[in-house]
């Protein structure tokens, strides 16, 4: 896929919505299109986190392994979701496993290059940070609700 097409695809993704054109161009330069088959492992816990993914089609399970319980899905991320932000936070290592649940198309972005770009251009960095912070906030809220285990025992 040419960078021009990638730029268009990125522009349509909610994560990059209304991002200025020059920034999209920058992003497209470090983006590539990747396909994962159903069941395929995308990354594993504690691996270096160089890439992050925006999901175009399909579904990804974020998993962890618990002794005596085996692998557990913590959440699934579907179309238009974003997978992975460990590329942004030292020590840049994966915290979970990720596996394609079904045939999944993603755009993979080179996190290392993005970090460099963010350092060089703080306006771009800030714009990207705001968007990642928004995703983190959504995940945090979801995790809080999950922790409350609201369906347990009685209606709460």
């Amino acid at each position: 896929m040419s960078t021009e097409t990638l730029e268009r695809v990125l522009a349509e993704h909610p994560f990059f919505k209304h991002l200025q054109r020059p920034y999209l161009e920058l992003l497209a330069e470090c983006a590539s299109r990747v396909r994962f088959n159903a069941g395929e492992v995308i990354f594993r816990e504690s691996e270096p986190a160089n890439l992050f993914y925006v999901i175009r089609r399909g579904k990804v399970a974020v998993e962890t392994f618990a002794p005596n319980r085996g692998p557990i899905i913590i959440q699934t991320i579907g179309e238009e979701g974003l997978l992975g932000w460990s590329w942004l936070i030292p020590p840049y290592r994966r915290r979970f496993d990720a596996r394609a649940v079904e045939l999944t198309w993603v755009i993979a972005l080179d996190g290392e290059r993005l970090r460099e770009m963010c350092e060089k251009d703080h306006d771009f960095g800030y714009e990207l940070m705001k968007r990642v912070a928004d995703i983190m906030d959504q995940r945090l809220q979801a995790t809080r609700l999950q922790l409350l285990d609201v369906y347990d025992g009685v209606r709460s």
């Binding site: 899905i73 979801a142 609700l145 209606r155 709460s156």
Partner: protein, 278 residues
Amino acid sequence: MAGLPDPMVPSPLRVQRVRRETYDTFTLELEPANGADGFSFAAGQFNMLYAFGVGEVPISISGDPTKPQTLVHTVRSVGAVTQAICKLKRGDVLGVRGPFGSHWPVEEAAGGDVVIVAGGIGLAPLRPVIYYLLSNREKYGRLALVYGARTLQDLLYNPELEKWRGHFDLAVEVTVDTAAASYRGNVGVVTTLIPRVQFDPLQTAVMVCGPEVMMRFTLRELEARGIGPENIFMSMERNMKCAVGFCGHCQFGPTFICKDGPVFRYDQIQAFFAKREV
């Protein structure tokens, strides 16, 4: 309710069928033990079910409002009374008074999109809405059901969920809070599904029922999607006793859940919904 004249006196109903939904939740189909007529009700209303010698509890009607011959309730066993009800077998008799309370605005929602958000047993009072919408499909725009439960084993109405999923004009999104790696469906809390649903925020009625915390999180998500509080309806299922506004047990701010609710329009309870003390 036709055939149940005095709202304070339970009428006897006989269990015709019991369906085990999950390990702790059962659906009962009831018919009058004394040959009385069927039960008209509006989607969202509830009855007081009396397990003889044990006690009485409010339970939503979970059946089809267009089929009033049979009264249907889905009950989760959480304490003495619900446990007694869940143990009933075909032929056993239960005391029923009702129907009580306000209903979901299914008619008012005609001409727009409808989104149903259910958590856990909260799907029970919303099932009559789904029946109604599907039998009047042409009156509505987009229809979506967003349903969350704790685990796969807690999902209610599995055969029907499958059937509804097969409807090309009803979007069904189901999620569970946690699952083993072999599960191929959605995992995550119910609020994570809301951004996926397509609707016109200005022309949409959203009907929500579930644990109160889940409803609070859902409200925030709906707000983020541009839905106004006047278009959000929620069923408040705090506990009650008399069901007719006498005893004050279910007072909720300036309202009584039993007679002003259980279904409220969010802007009418917004001021005191999130308050801890009400």
